[in-house]
């Protein structure tokens, strides 16, 4: 088996939360935004990460590139633990791992022109390149993502959301990264534009052999682009499996609940679809439930679930549930 491009082991991120009136010496409370997540991502493959808002998807992505302090291991190409690198030595990997963001417009500096924005990573990582060379690379990249050459001196607010996301993609790919982290890249876009952007990403992935970590908050978006899908809940991994397996045969009640929220294009199936609604609110991440974190909303929960933390196990299809299995009739609403 080949070595993964990036593999995370027991990744944890905890934020110190100080409330406004706290004294400087009071011990801050901790928020475990990411709690023991592991995954492997092969070169050229796509891992989808799905979960509700606030479950720690962005924090997971940030942890990989030292944007937030994290513990655990993030091994790059089987050799380097990215988390242990000094910020100087990390610099080299920052060009190999690039990121695109949820809000396409907000991720572009309003005072910079499109050309300056796309060139920034090049200027940072390849300062030896001459002005002409940078220009021609930017031009090629713009062409590649479908931006017209005459747009180069325009400012971000003059573009639509879809175009802004193309600018973001061009900026990320100009330094020829090996891994592209997409943090909800299409959530803010119209449905028709979403498809275009995802298609563009897939095309570029095939062409450049990119690995993609694709974050989304619903399962339908990642369905076609992912080779493997990981479902997060309150910072923990609930289920992870190759995409076809996960969509065909979800084992975890949370995945099943998410799945039932996905609209199916065929009205016949849509009508007969089994749905399990998620009851109640997301618990506060400051005080997650004991045992299985999903138990407060799980239709299958029993007393044992409050006692024991379920482990995802190993293998192709991992599921962190004490009672994994397909939906049963009485769980369907």
């Amino acid at each position: 088996m080949s070595t993964p491009l990036i593999s995370a082991r027991d990744l944890r991120v905890a934020f110190d939360i100080t409330r406004p009136g706290d004294m400087p010496w009071t011990k801050p409370r901790q928020l475990h935004a990411v709690n023991g997540v592991s995954f492997d991502l092969m070169p050229g493959q796509t891992l989808g990460v799905v979960g509700e808002s606030g479950c720690g998807k962005s924090t997971l992505a940030r942890a990989l590139i030292q944007m937030v302090p994290a513990s655990g291991e993030v091994v790059w190409q089987g050799e380097t633990d990215l988390l242990s690198l000094s910020s100087q030595r990390m610099q080299k990997y920052r060009s190999e791992i690039q990121m695109i963001f949820q809000d396409p417009l907000a991720s572009l500096n309003p005072r910079m022109t499109l050309g300056q924005i796309i060139a920034e990573p090049l200027r940072t990582h390849r300062p030896e390149l001459g002005r002409e060379e940078v220009k021609s690379r930017v031009a090629r990249m713009m062409d590649r993502v479908g931006l017209l050459p005459q747009m180069i001196n325009r400012y971000p607010h003059e573009f639509s959301g879809g175009q802004c996301q193309r600018i973001g993609i061009a900026r990320a790919l100009i330094v020829e990264p090996k891994l592209l982290i997409c943090d909800e890249p299409v959530s803010a876009l119209d449905v028709s534009i979403q498809a275009q952007v995802i298609e563009l990403l897939q095309e570029l992935q095939r062409e450049l052999g990119l690995a993609i970590l694709f974050i989304a908050h619903d399962l339908s978006v990642v369905k076609h682009i992912s080779d493997e899908v990981m479902v997060l809940y309150l910072g923990r991994m609930m289920e992870k499996a190759p995409a076809d397996l996960l969509y065909a045969d979800p084992q975890h009640p949370y995945t099943q609940a998410l799945m039932s929220a996905v609209p199916v294009p065929d009205p016949q199936i849509e009508r007969n679809k089994q749905t399990i609604p998620l009851h109640g609110d997301l618990p506060s991440p400051m005080a997650p439930p004991s045992g299985c974190v999903f138990r407060t909303r799980c239709p299958r929960a029993v007393e044992a679930c409050a006692e024991e933390v379920p482990h995802p196990g190993r293998g192709r299809h991992q599921c962190a549930c004490l009672f994994p299995g397909p939906l049963t009739a009485d769980e369907v609403a």
Binding site: D103, T124, Y155
Partner: protein
């Protein structure tokens, strides 16, 4: 000082968060500014004052150092404003041409104002942006230092500096510069804090752009509006401060003069009936201050159309 930080926050927020930031914001602001009568009047005053300071000496018949022996000793009777002998604004009690003196005083006052504001802009921006961007303990320490410096009565310090190091222009610039940047650094730091968590800053950090470059390339350009407004309002404050010092007799030294020094002289001799010695410097002093305040307020309103 006279600026309410809240208003500044509002402007900066609009500048930073409005999705149509960039050019259209400036175009918007320009049209609002042009429609603002007080602001345009202020701009007109400012242009007039600056032209007077720059080119007034070409119009003067006398230099600011020559003594006119014809009117010496009879200043109260013969030294009034007159086209005939070339003393448009009259002469001072030594027989020097008041027009030339006023030109010179305006030059010095403007220079003091600009230099003070420039120091505030440069030092305050760098200091505030650094504190805000680095954050954490560094920010705490840097801002506590500003608090401490602000707690010192600055007039006292300024007077002390002028007394200790002589009444030179340099000492005056240093003294004004020392105090002028404090408020600016606070404003810039506050805005930096809110900018820092925006996604484009995060994008730059993720790519590995260094902190210094992020401040220079991403933060400062997005604060230019606030800085411009604040700097425009700071210039007249500096001029006022200098005038106050000069009025106390501690400002610039002869043969240099400033509007404040001229006003002080004029006030001293008013008992002899030489009203023009007070009137003309005071007129230019007021024109300058009004100009700056009107333009500053206009800029502020133009950049922050909310609540008017």
């Amino acid at each position: 000082m006279v600026h309410d930080t809240q208003r500044m926050d509002a402007i900066a927020e609009r500048m930073a968060e409005d999705e149509v930031a960039g050019r259209s914001l400036w175009a918007d602001a320009r049209s609002r500014f042009v429609k603002n009568k007080a602001a345009m009047f202020g701009l007109f005053l400012l242009i007039f004052v600056v032209l007077f300071a720059l080119f007034g000496s070409h119009l003067a018949q006398w230099s600011n150092e020559e003594l006119d022996y014809n009117v010496m000793g009879v200043v109260a009777q013969e030294g009034g404003p007159s086209m005939a002998n070339g003393h448009y604004f009259g002469v001072d009690e030594l027989g020097r041409d008041l027009f030339a003196r006023t030109v010179q005083g305006t030059q010095v006052s403007l220079a003091v104002g600009f230099v003070g504001a420039l120091v505030a802009v440069v030092v305050g921006t760098i200091y505030g942006a650094t504190a805000g961007y680095v954050g954490g303990r560094v920010d705490q320490i840097m801002m506590r230092m500003v608090d401490i410096l602000m707690a010192i009565p600055y007039m006292f310090v300024l007077i002390l500096i002028l007394v200790m190091y002589g009444r030179s222009m340099i000492a005056l610039f240093v003294g004004l510069g020392l105090i002028s940047w404090l408020e600016m650094s606070r404003i810039v730091r506050g805005q930096t804090l809110s900018l820092k968590n925006r996604e484009f800053i995060e994008a730059a950090r993720a790519t590995g752009v260094s902190g210094v470059t992020i401040i220079r390339r991403h933060i400062v350009p997005n604060l230019l509006g606030v800085i411009a407004v604040y700097a425009t309002l700071l210039v007249p404050l500096m001029i006022l401060t200098e005038s106050f010092i000069s009025f106390l007799g501690l400002g610039v030294q002869e043969p240099l003069t400033s509007l404040g020094a001229l006003i002080s002289e004029g006030a001293g001799t008013i008992a002899y009936g030489t009203i023009w010695q007070l009137g003309f410097p005071l007129l230019f002093f007021c024109l300058t201050l009004f100009g700056f305040f009107f333009v500053g307020d206009g800029l502020r309103d133009a950049l922050d159309p909310k609540d008017r």
